[in-house]
């Protein structure tokens, strides 16, 4: 077993080493002001096998959906000391008017993360759900990556399915611009024992193989997602943590500002892609 693990690690390092070597011959960093992918932005759906796509295409095959069903029950039932349900303020999840508050769930998945004036940083759907719980419902926040929060995020995001993702975070003067800059810096920062940045896999080598894995553009439009590998739903931050661990760097915490900044930046890299969450990925 020890030998096997060592062999796997050695193989990985050798594989990444080749990529890293190849990368140094290319320009070290994308410093242009334009979009790094130009017009060629594609979702992970594009390279999924027909079998995996089929699982996503029909909600009765998508194993994420039972989690959404549970969330829909929570959405409708009074929570916390305030004894208020999500529906009391927002109406049904698909209510275009957005209930008494006039804030519909439709569109949330397309425009988040947004700027949070309280914390002076980006806030994503997960943390926004928990904000509602603590501030308005006077309830305990859900644990990040809990079934409840994944389901609730899925329920909210799926109301925007098919809508193009929008962001102006790259505009100087936008409230999210500082976060976008930080996210961009994170994206191009080499890190970990393998000394790789996000861009080495997802910008320079998208569509190339790393071992048996076809590299994607690392788009976030399918999150939260049901991953075949995890055999359960997972958040974008779980995916970030997985990537960070793979390159032997210490991952940040769920909901960390570093990841919120990266999430903000990625939303821009995938601007225009349709919201697919909850999707199914390999």
């Amino acid at each position: 077993m020890t030998f096997k693990k060592t062999a796997i690690t050695a193989g990985l390092i050798a594989g990444f080493g080749l990529i890293a070597a190849a990368c140094t011959q290319q320009k070290e960093e994308h410093m242009g002001m334009g979009h790094p992918y130009g017009d060629e932005v594609w979702s992970g759906y594009a390279t999924a096998t027909p079998e995996t796509r089929a699982m996503q295409d029909d909600d009765f095959e998508n194993p994420f959906m039972p989690y959404v069903d549970v969330a829909a029950e929570i959405y409708d039932s009074p929570q916390g000391e305030a004894n208020k349900s999500c529906a009391d303020c927002h109406g049904a999840p698909d209510d275009a008017e957005g209930g008494p508050m006039g804030i519909p769930m439709k569109g949330v998945g397309a425009r988040y993360p947004i700027y949070d004036a309280e914390m002076h940083r980006p806030i994503n759907v997960e943390l926004r759900v928990n904000r509602c719980r603590t501030k308005y419902q006077k309830a305990k926040p859900f644990k990040y990556e809990s079934d409840e929060l994944l389901g609730m995020t899925g329920l909210v995001v799926m109301q925007s399915r098919g809508m193009p993702r929008v962001t102006t975070a790259d505009q100087v003067g936008d409230e999210l611009y500082p976060a976008w800059l930080q996210g961009k810096a994170f994206y191009y920062q080499r890190r970990g024992q393998l000394d790789l940045a996000c861009k080495h896999c997802h910008e320079d080598n998208a569509m190339n193989m790393v071992r048996a894995e076809l590299l994607s553009q690392g788009q976030s439009n399918g999150f939260p997602t049901y991953r075949l590998k995890w055999q359960k739903p997972g958040s974008l931050h779980r995916r970030f943590r997985g990537c960070n661990k793979n390159i032997r760097s210490i991952p940040f915490a769920y909901g960390a500002e570093e990841y919120l900044n990266l999430e903000t930046y990625l939303a821009w890299r995938g601007k225009g892609l349709p919201v697919e969450g909850p999707s199914v990925r390999k």
Binding site: K5, E51, Q193, V210, R211, A212, R227, K245
Partner: protein
């Protein structure tokens, strides 16, 4: 200072090794026992009471990928050419995996209704043959076999 970095690296590597081990564990196939084609044949014989089996193109795999994106969740469908009438139908469809810790995966028990096509998702620990065996109402057993390549994806912990 340099000692600190070394320590960090060491911890890091241990974590990474754990992660590599965990990805094997995640499939639940860490045990050393592995099924073989013989074990699969034995399981089939046990399931059918030792009836003779015939490879038949009446039994087809549908939606079974040649290369699975992840062994933890491999879609598999089996379709059997049968009228599914009261006197001629498929009673059982057994699915075996020749390279898993144990060969049995799932058995479908059918009655004369609809058509003989079933779908599910199974775990495959490695590249191996998947065997489907249809037990017909007249007692005959028709089988089909297909190889599924399972890659070990490295990414995303």
């Amino acid at each position: 200072m340099s000692k600190n970095i070394q320590q960090m690296v060491r911890v890091d590597r241990r974590e990474a090794l754990k992660a590599a081990g965990a990805s094997v564990l995640a499939l639940g196939f860490a045990s050393t026992a592995q099924a073989t084609p013989e074990a699969a044949a034995e399981a089939l014989s046990k399931a059918t009471g030792g009836a003779a089996t015939t490879m038949s193109d009446k039994v087809k795999f549908v939606g079974l990928p040649e290369i699975a994106e992840n062994g933890a969740t491999v879609p598999v469908g089996i379709s059997v050419d049968s009228p599914m009438s009261a006197d001629n139908y498929v009673k059982h469809i057994h699915v075996f995996a020749e390279g898993n810790p144990s060969p049995e995966t799932i058995t479908f028990n059918l009655t004369p209704t609809g058509k003989a096509e079933v779908n599910t998702r199974i775990r495959l620990g490695k590249t191996q043959n998947v065997v489907a065996a249809a037990v017909m109402s007249d007692g005959s057993v028709l089988t089909a076999k297909r190889e599924v390549k399972v890659t070990i994806g490295g990414c995303g912990g």
